[in-house]
Amino acid sequence: MCGIAGYAGALPRDEVAALLRRMCGAIAHRGPDAQGVHVSDGAGLGHRRLSVIDLTADGAQPMHSACGTFSIAYNGEIFNYIELRKMLEARGRRFRTASDTEVVLQLYEEYGPDFVTHLNGDFALAIWDERHKRMVLARDRMGVRPLFYTWHRGVFYFASEVKALLQVPGVEAEIDPFALDQIFTLWAPIAPRTPFKGIFELPPAHMMIVENGEARSRPYWALAFPEGGERDPRSEGGIAEELRTLLEDATRIRLRADVEVGSFLSGGLDSSIVSGLAARMAPNGLRTFSVTFDDAEFDESDYQQTMVRALGTQHHSIACGPEDIAGIFPAVVWHMERPVTRTAPAPLYQLSGLVREQGLKVVLSGEGADEIFAGYDLFREARIRRFCGRQPGSQIRPHLFRKIYPYLSSLQQQTPEYLAAFFGTGVDAADDPLFSHRPRIRATAGAKMFFSRDLRDQLAGYDATEEIASELPEAFVRWHPLHQAQYIETRFLLPGYILSSQGDRMAMAHGVETRFPFLDHRLVEFAAQIPPNLKLKGLREKHILRAATADLLPQAISERPKQPYRAPDSASFRGPVGDYVDEIMSAEAVTANGLFNPLAAAKLLEKCRRDVATGFRDNAAFVGIVSTQLWAREFSNMVSNRSREASV
């Protein structure tokens, strides 16, 4: 786990080493243990190291092949590197180090660009192939590790985070209005677009070859589901058994490290399963980490303690108090590098800080299970909407919406007529590819009412949902509706928000590597083939996962209904710590950035500051505006600081 940076193109050799060091310095938090740069004719690589496997200097990067032709800078872990090394040794290759980096390098030597299909891991890497004068970039299948790039004056630059690219003189931080529209619709930009105009992200499961001043990218893997009419002949018990075997192996190889590996423990089903498996495999015991909330509406500490007692782990927790989120939110935005419509990343920033404080660099996470085993409320909601759509006048059916949202008090108080109206979005369009996501999209997009006239003019009627729909594979229409919903969630929201804003960026802010057993591609592919009614059985989410792991957990956890991870949004900014919001949402500041209507923003702030219940749209808009204004402040300051330093 580390940070990488580099370039391909013609640059003056006497300046590039300093530039690479500056780029790496901007992402020093990703790899506090060491730094290295390598410059060759037409390319340069930089690396910040977080030592996890082979802690000796042998594992330092950039690393070069024995023949000197290939050099690599790599961020991540290849969990099957031991098996790959044996395979390569059987083919006659010899190794100089114990590191996984050398395995990746030799794999490239052996297989060329197809090497990437052999990797089971979370990675973003760059290999400079001196012989062909080409830079090969690749990113893991699910999008755990980030990789950004841009072109400037004919030179290609790349890095783990955008803040490294902003070290390149002439590369500026300017908001991309279409990315902002996507965030205010879908919670995340659609890769390769980023919030920075002209700076792009290599999409998950893609590789890119930069050669002769041109870049070509292509996917090397894609999530796919069975097409209609295919029947799965396997028994439920057989599927559960196979699932368990795969999950155990995915966890086992994610415990490979030369440092201690801990585990997040939220008290929910998924992290409890991962912690339960890891506790059995950790010979010296397992350390677990959780965040607790002062506000009982969000707190899960009773469940966390149930699991701690059951597993006997050494547990550490950190409390998220009423004003903590406001206090750290500017730093959170700086690390996320993108506006968001929720504050949920902030407590995870605190949690990763706790992990680091306790001396750990690596933790396991239960993230990913909700996508691959259909755990989110959205999947159940879509099923009820289809059920209601078949009898639109029913007074009984809409009551089911209350059942899936027991934690939303405003919904509990609604009549069936209003429930039907709120969730009725698109129920008459059962063939709409975005059917499952329409209510969420609509609720979020309501926040766009705060967009300024100027921003609306720039968007010129752009519709982010049309772009999503145009990105769907040809076979999508032949998949089961649940699988369609899972695909949208896994392809777009998982990498664009969960694994980035709530994942890599919060953990790496503290030099902590997160590993996700549920996102082992073997398990993802296996789960995609499981019949929909075994994932969502009636309204029981993750049915097959519960069946496969019931022996691991106390019944109070294994039968626990899904409680989505949430954090207080606008309420977090009501106290004095959040006073800075007055300045960034002032008419002057809002007008200066030109993105939002200053009058409406002021009234929203006033409403959110009053101690009144604030709904989903208002909260999303408030957090969206605050984070966008912070984004503009943090990154425009960064560019001006860099300019000052360069002039000095």
Binding site: S410, F422, L599, G615, F616
Partner: protein, 87 residues
């Protein structure tokens, strides 16, 4: 009287759900849900406003789109309820 009620309701909606943005015309018959002006919390805010401003008692059965999904519907509902109270 109905126009006065409508005016107060309109002011509440513009201030509370449109945050003062009255640049787009808001028709008396325009659906608040279809126009994305209210969500589930917004309905509860509206109910609270009607109870406090007009002194109407809202039963659960009253909280339906037929009564509350446009300025015209809300005004008619308030007028009906006020008549009941006055009668």
């Amino acid at each position: 009287m109905p126009d006065a009620i409508k005016s107060q309701i309109r002011t509440f909606i513009v201030e509370n759900f449109l945050f003062g943005d009255d640049s787009t015309p808001l028709g008396d018959e325009q659906s608040l849900i279809e126009s994305d002006m209210v969500d589930s919390t917004g309905i509860l805010e509206l109910v609270s406003f009607l109870e406090e401003r007009f002194g109407v008692a809202m039963a659960d059965a009253d909280i339906v789109p037929a009564n509350l999904d446009s300025i015209a519907r809300i005004a008619a509902f308030v007028a009906r309820k006020s008549e009941v109270v006055a009668g």
